[in-house]
Point group: C2
DNA sequence: TAAGTGGATTGATGCGCTTCAATCGGTCGG
DNA sequence: CCGACCGATTGAAGCGCATCAATCCACTTA
């Protein structure tokens, strides 16, 4: 910077002003300085910058699973919103590894980012408490915080489960089954509650079987599908709620393509999340949509609110409502392929 | 830090040593300092740290499209490799926006990251030149650099196209069509060359039609599918190479599910990239696999090499070979659903 | 002509840390 | 008992920048 100042025949203070408060500098001088900057290839040192100012204009976003399109959507929404308020969004993928997650939280903490968005897959209250105790703001995504510890953006996951079950009930299915795993993952727990509520509400005419898939990935889905396919037709549920799109697609694949069980005629299937793959699958998947983009945007809003209001901030939780997207795997009518109200994912707001 | 020093009854130098060179400090003192650190909730300031050292241990990775699973795979591989050498990987998504890409390149440049991994969708030589001129290292992913300007990790995209075409030819298809768009995107250009080479090699018995889809996303694929479906059966190609999985799946959907054209019987389809969705689609897609994880790992290796060897570094290009994954949309035999050699994506190294 | 005015510019200060030469205190050999 | 030696510890210097009180300069007003 001194070099630039020398080259332009000004002081370092003026160079700094050109960079940060152009209005304070006369146009001619500013031009001279800018010329020197580009001639010398000067790059201002962000470390020194944020050392002085005590902050940066970056927001860190820690994602548990970057392979999941819901998380990608959240990142997308957050990115847009962050940009709009002049912040950069830095992404970090923990691949569901809590050690890595703590690493990244600490990294962002040490980097004095403006704030952190965290979309975890496990309880992370320890990490949150740690960096919050240093005065760093955190907004939790798709995971309820311990009450009063931070802001959060959630989807009404109970309603996700409810919508899935309700849709099947409304379309005339009576022998329902709910396939899930990882009840330690909060959204999964919530969805189960919603499923049960809908079934109870329907009265004794509707039965619910709960199937533990053991895991949320495709192989587990295949296994569940095979188990189901081996059953006597009379023992087969006629409506399947599946906790995850990925799992649902895997199950459908076994049922439909491998075992020749007709979906949705014999078994209707509803998934949750409305992932990228949902609409493109062999049997397009009826799924409860999670508004990922909006969640990301809301999270940034909450974060910036908190940063701006300082002491008098009150933590808030934004709960967004899910929406059912009806496709072929569980049409509106009881049997057969109903009208496709397939809303393109690309049109998502 | 002074506070910690006071609390522990030592000097700041000792506190710093506890954090950075524990061996230099007596165990008793170290313990006392650590206790003070956690009691006071001290977090060392990364900005000051890297101001002194002039570097960080973070690597920035700029991705053109985080929605594309190839890019996600590259990020995954890079993350693993970066961790192994004690570096943090920070991700940035440009959503194909060159302005944003430049923003992030500059941000990483100003942050004095160890180096930058860039997976662009357009020529980015200006940005690369800019930050390289500041001495910052860049490795380009899936895009050829201007010769001699930086290291890069590529896939032999010409061979991608060749493998796709060759597979169709070998399975007896003779009226081929190649669907692509965005020839300004280098990998696309390369694939076309490979397709043409394979067709020429096959001699006059095989014809090639080149179809411009106008874009690479699902809606464009639907349009192409509809156009094809309207043709007289005799005018229909019997083998389709499609530049992208997403496009391929969309085309198959139109052809197969909507228009009732049998895939692969009437038209066999081969995609490129072997995305997440490839294996799960209605008609599982035969695709040429791009080794994303390995690309990410190699990129980190090249970057760390370059950082380590300083002046005497010579730029290198690593070209990885693609591999054909045969699924139902274009089985090995000429007609009908061949044996599924569906390699689970999850098993990818 | 002197005092006043305000925009442009200066440069010393300090942000929080790492480093390293200097110092301290204790131990060992002679 | 003295000097040499060594590990542990100290604390000042400086990393590159933003800030802001102080200064400068050109111009206006009385």
């Amino acid at each position: 910077m001194q070099d630039v100042a020398d080259a332009a025949g000004v002081s370092v203070g003026t160079v700094s002003n050109v960079l940060n408060h152009p209005a304070k500098v006369s146009p001619a001088t500013a031009e001279r300085v800018r010329e020197a900057i580009s001639r010398l290839g000067f790059v201002r040192n962000d470390a020194a910058r944020s050392l002085v100012s005590g902050s940066t204009n970056s927001i860190g976003m820690v994602l548990a699973d970057i392979e999941n399109s819901l998380f990608i959507d959240m990142a997308h929404g957050a990115q847009d919103a962050a940009r709009a308020v002049g912040q950069n969004l830095l992404l970090a993928n923990t691949a569901c590894d809590m050690t890595l997650q703590d690493n990244y939280l600490d990294l962002f903490d040490e980097s004095r980012v403006t704030g952190v968005l965290l979309a975890p897959m496990e309880d992370s209250s320890a990490g949150i408490a740690r960096i919050r105790s240093h005065g760093r703001q955190v907004v939790l995504l798709n995971y309820s915080p311990k009450p009063g510890t931070c802001c959060s953006v959630l989807v009404n996951n109970e309603h996700v489960g409810y919508l899935a079950a309700r849709h099947l009930i409304d379309s005339g299915r009576t022998r329902l089954a709910y396939v899930a795993a990882h009840d330690d993952y909060q959204p999964v727990r919530d969805r189960r509650r919603g499923v049960r509520a809908a079934v109870e509400e329907a009265g004794p005419g509707v039965t619910l079987e709960e199937i533990d898939s053991g895991g949320l990935t495709t192989p587990y889905g295949h296994a569940v599908g095979q188990d189901l396919a081996r059953r006597a037709p009379a023992d087969l549920p006629d409506g399947l709620m599946v906790v995850t799109d990925e799992l649902a697609n895997a199950i459908i694949h076994e049922l439909h393509a491998v075992a020749g069980i007709r979906v949705p005629d014999q078994v209707a299937v509803v998934g949750c999340e409305n992932n990228r793959a949902a609409g493109a699958a062999a049997v397009p998947l009826t799924a409860v949509d999670m508004p990922g983009r909006m969640m990301g945007r809301e999270a940034i809003r909450l974060l910036m609110d908190e940063v701006a209001s300082g002491e008098q901030h009150r933590h808030a939780t934004v709960v967004l409502e899910p929406e059912l997207i009806v496709r072929a795997s569980a049409p509106r009518s009881g049997v057969g392929v109903g009208t496709s109200s397939d809303r393109s994912r690309g049109a998502q707001s």
